[in-house]
């Protein structure tokens, strides 16, 4: 980019522009037109700009600057390098699409005023950008917590509903505790030099034990934000609570900032990695992936389902991170690069797919006012745009070629497959099992998506009200369309994208760049002999065969076709109630993975007039981990409260005892 200003300054200016747009919202806080017609599109423009600048900077040397802000002696440092570029372009592009969608999405009288909402929204975007640019602990933490705060306010937009308030509280609490963890990790990293710049941290060489402490704290903190099991409990609460564009942002982009943090701390700030860290991350990742997907399969609320699927994808991403650390720690740098690329690619993919799906649910929600899968169905007839665009997302997230979800899965599996020569045998034994779990999760994701899509959009309407549902407006279609296009592009030309991503591997792992085959259409991680994937050709062939088939059939037999009632096998009264419900669709999973769920069934009695069958599925970890914690705190509080029992002579005794004790201690 040959701008008069450096790329870094350009990014900064765009972030500032976001802030300005947000503040502008306060000018006319009650005007929905102003926010929707003017501000959100402007925000989208900024997003596109950011994406372009950041992507353009990839592969160029890092730039850094110092801002005249911050504490005395520790001003804000900012830096633009390959890693932050990748995530910035992710943020920019995805948020642009979401802003376009939001321009038509928000309606009047939904809790917070439009102007305020606009402020929170753009503050959220700007703070995420700042997180990615920050180059010292203080500015990072400030941006990080601002991000949490603004998203909290966005989540509690409809604050009159108690559940939503509860969700927001849980979210902010876990986010804050996580942030404290990150903060302590920085405390370790700065290693005695009271310089909190990342440069100083890179320079500081920690003892292995301290390095491990720092890593674990960072993993805890960022894992809490990413929704890594067992710190995931806020996620299925907060995502459904938030307005859909916000859910899309949180799931699509915010979770990725956590991944960014882990990568930054592990590969950039911590000089050398120990391979067992990788196993920790790998284990947690696989656990989250599996846990997330099986819970997604049994959900009945569409946004909750997507939230759980986000947990699954975060799990897969962390699996990739763990794999990278293992390889790096074992000195297998090319493999580390491969899995790092896979990780980044999956971050990109998930950002697009999941945002697309969340936006789809948003449109459905507005059209029908219904989040419960049990009351939806057959929407493909009423809202074809949303249906077909969502289909793209669903297929992509199920990891089907030639869409983008498959690419990252493919890369990750390649990394697993050729892990053969890690110097620790039992790790060698473990990794295939990991691969198996990943494969299982992807297959289950397919299951989940069939349920999600089929129940919402296909079949017959489960409620009469759905007959009047309206398709999404223009701007909403545009937003979703952009994301769907992104999914397709990421799926079809992975080689190009990866050549861009390779700059990160080059920067973090010091591998020589340009190891990615010669053909522009072919993806060949190691040697084309070993493994290669050319989605474009595959897609072309697929289209060709399908067209030929259609043409052939038309050519040979042109016959009429007529419509009639579906076959009811002689039982006349076949109605919408008889198709499979969401619960029914989840039944096999509940059946197979029973030990993981906390289920309470309500079975009808044989002589019931109106028999009801209800099953509610709960999270075991909640009752195993969190409730005891809360109870412990409560018990302690009650214990402590005994100190304060109102009698003045007791208080005097405290003082007296303290005095005597201290005196005795001194003497």
């Amino acid at each position: 980019m040959n701008l008069p200003v450096s790329d870094l300054e350009a990014c900064l200016a765009l972030l500032a522009a976001w802030g300005g747009i947000g503040l502008a919202g306060l000018l006319r806080p009650r005007s929905l037109r102003f926010a929707g017609r003017t501000l959100f599109p402007l925000g989208a423009v900024c997003g596109v700009g950011l994406a372009i600048v950041a992507a353009g900077h990839l592969g160029q040397p890092p730039q850094s600057e110092v801002l005249p802000l911050g504490l005395p002696g520790m001003p804000f440092h900012i830096r633009l390098d390959a890693l932050s570029c990748v995530f910035l372009s992710l943020l920019g592009s995805v948020s642009a699409a979401i802003s376009v969608f939001s321009a038509g999405y928000f309606r009047q009288g939904e809790g917070t005023l439009p102007g305020l909402l606009c402020l929170e929204y753009h503050l959220f975007l700007a703070s995420m950008g700042m997180v990615l640019l920050a180059d010292d602990a203080y500015s990072f933490m400030v941006a990080w917590e601002t991000m949490a705060l603004s998203s909290y306010f966005l989540v509690t937009t409809q604050h009159r509903i108690p559940e939503i308030r509860a969700a927001g509280f849980l979210y902010l609490l876990i986010a804050h505790v996580g942030a404290l963890g990150i903060l302590l990790s920085f405390g370790v990293l700065q290693g005695g030099t009271w310089q909190f710049t990342f440069d100083a941290m890179r320079a500081a060489h920690l003892a292995p034990a301290w390095a491990s402490v720092a890593f674990c704290l960072a993993l805890f903190g960022f894992g809490a934000k990413a929704g890594l099991v067992p710190l995931h409990v806020w996620l299925p609460e907060a995502h459904p609570a938030a307005p859909s564009p916000v859910s899309a942002l949180m799931s699509g982009v915010m979770l990725k900032t956590a991944v960014y943090g882990v990568l930054r701390v592990t590969f950039d700030l911590l000089g050398s990695q120990q391979w067992w860290w990788g196993l920790v991350a790998l284990g947690l990742g696989l656990m989250s992936a599996f846990y997330g997907v099986i819970f997604a399969a049994v959900q009945t609320d569409m946004k909750r389902l997507l939230a759980w699927s986000s947990i699954e994808n975060v799990g897969i991403v962390f699996t990739g991170v763990g794999l990278t650390i293992v390889f790096k720690g074992a000195g297998l740098v090319p493999l580390a690069a491969l899995s790092l690329i896979a990780t980044l690619y999956h971050c990109l993919n998930h950002a697009y797919m999941k945002s697309l799906l969340f936006l789809g649910t948003g449109s459905v929600l507005h059209a029908t006012g219904e989040r419960n899968l049990g009351r939806l169905g057959g929407l493909i007839h009423r809202m074809p745009w949303v249906a077909w665009l969502t289909l793209v997302g669903a297929l992509a997230i199920a990891g089907l070629p030639p869409l983008n979800g498959f690419v990252s899965e493919w890369l990750l599996l390649q990394a697993f497959l050729f892990a053969g020569d890690v110097p620790h045998t039992f790790v060698n034994m473990l990794l295939p099992v990991g691969a198996a779990v990943v494969a299982l999760c992807t297959a289950l994701a397919g299951y989940v998506m069939v349920k999600f899509y089929g129940v919402i959009f296909l079949g017959q309407r489960r409620e009469a009200g759905l007959a009047t549902a309206k398709d999404a407006g223009v701007s909403e279609r545009l937003g979703m369309g952009a994301l769907a296009l992104g999914c397709l592009v990421l799926g079809l030309v992975p080689a190009q994208v990866i050549r861009l991503l390779d700059a990160v591997a080059h920067e973090l792992l010091q591998v020589p760049s340009g190891r990615w085959g010669s053909q522009w259409w072919l993806l060949a991680p190691a040697a084309a002999r070993q493994a290669s994937y050319g989605p474009l050709a595959l897609f072309a062939l697929l289209l060709l065969t399908m067209l030929l088939t259609v043409y052939g059939v038309r050519l040979l037999y042109r016959r009429r076709e007529r419509r009639s009632a579906p076959w009811d096998c002689g039982f006349a009264a076949l109605d919408a109630r008889m198709q499979d419900t969401a619960e029914g669709f989840g039944q096999p999973i509940r059946h197979i993975f029973e030990p993981f769920f906390r289920m309470s069934r309500q079975l009808p009695a044989p002589d019931d007039e109106h028999p009801v069958y209800r099953v509610t599925v709960g999270d075991r970890l909640w009752s195993v981990l969190y409730l005891p914690l809360a109870q412990a705190v409560h018990a302690t509080a009650n214990l402590v409260a005994r100190l304060q029992q109102g009698r003045i002579s007791t208080y005097l005794t405290y003082s007296f005892a303290t005095l005597l004790l201290l005196l005795a201690f001194v003497l």
Binding site: L395, G399, V433
Partner: protein, 316 residues
């Protein structure tokens, strides 16, 4: 790509597409013999397809475009799958574009569209079938993937033709890992192709059917394409099996056109035997309850992973 490669590619696709129904017919014939029934002709499936293609199509009222597109997608995927499985020659240009993992992905795509189409009309059976199909799928797919992994590790590549070559170039020896995976593969094949003991292609008993339940609403050309795709799927699976476990005799650049010509009868023989064995297995085993299906497939998955571990342990 060389003309030979092009020829191989074309030959493979065409032969697979055209011969698939016959293989199905052969299997049915063997089953009939084994059950002491008068056997239908090997060409019976072709007659069926022809008849269906001549009929008027009947669609349910609320069938959406997706319902009508699905047959073409499924059929197309199966054909593409056929194009990357080295049944006769290993010099397949397409195989650089799609390796084993992609193959599994293609099969998954077909399955997903089939299930979505089944849910589209919104009858009880359709969605029931879709659910069961996905239930079978989410265990069968990773199992198949693991099976491919073993082979891939043995020949350190994921591209199917290269795997086939690599395995065929090995000296004839005992590969315990392959033994495990072979069993796993047979189980997966049975499950994925709706054969006994998981499903019964020749029944329409509501409580047990899976594949047929999804096709209930299809008629005429759509049904024809679906049936054809099913036959093709079976054929593909058979060929995968050959490529992994009986890789010998596939022609390649070295052997030239002659090798290719030799490969054709060889494949035919393999198919005949395989069909007979399949029929035998089906006749000897009894249909499982649907709830037992996961255990069946879990066994397959387990065996495949075991094969992988055994390979890593023994290096063979």
């Amino acid at each position: 790509m060389t003309p030979l490669a092009a020829a191989t590619q074309l030959l493979e696709v065409l032969s697979a597409t055209l011969a698939a129904p016959m293989f199905l017919g052969w299997v049915n014939q063997c089953r009939a013999w084994l059950q002491n029934r008068r056997a239908p002709s090997v060409l019976q499936p072709y007659f069926g397809l022809r008849k269906l293609l001549h009929k008027d199509a009947v669609l349910a009222e609320n069938a959406s475009p997706l319902f009508r597109a699905a047959p073409y997608v499924v059929f197309g995927t199966m054909v593409v799958a056929a194009a990357i499985i080295p049944s006769m020659g290993t010099g397949l240009p397409m195989s650089t574009a799609a390796d084993g993992i992609a193959l599994v992905g293609l099969l998954a795509t077909a399955r997903m569209f089939l299930s979505l189409a089944a849910m589209d009309v919104g009858t009880a059976f359709g969605s029931l079938g879709a659910r069961r199909e996905m239930m079978v799928g989410f265990l069968a797919e990773p199992a198949l993937l693991m099976i491919l992994f073993v082979a891939a590790l043995l020949s350190s590549t994921t591209s199917l033709p290269l795997i086939a070559e690599g395995l065929s170039s090995h000296v004839l020896g005992v590969y315990p890992s392959l033994a495990f995976t072979a069993v796993a593969f047979v189980l997966v094949l049975l499950a994925e192709n709706a054969r006994i003991p998981i499903d019964n292609p020749s029944t329409h008993l509501e409580l047990t059917m899976i594949h047929e339940a999804m096709l209930l609403e299809y008629s005429a050309r759509h049904l024809a394409l679906m049936e054809w795709a099913a036959a093709l799927k079976l054929f593909n699976y058979a060929c995968i099996g050959f490529a992994l476990f009986l890789p010998w005799g596939a022609g390649n650049e070295a052997s030239g056109p002659l090798g290719l010509l030799l490969a054709v009868p060889l494949l035919a023989i393999k198919l005949v035997v395989a069909g007979a064995v399949l029929a035998l297995i089906e006749t000897l085993s009894a249909k499982l309850r649907v709830f037992r299906a996961p255990e069946f497939l879990a066994t397959a998955f387990l065996l495949a992973v075991l094969g992988l571990l055994v390979h890593l342990l023994l290096g063979a």
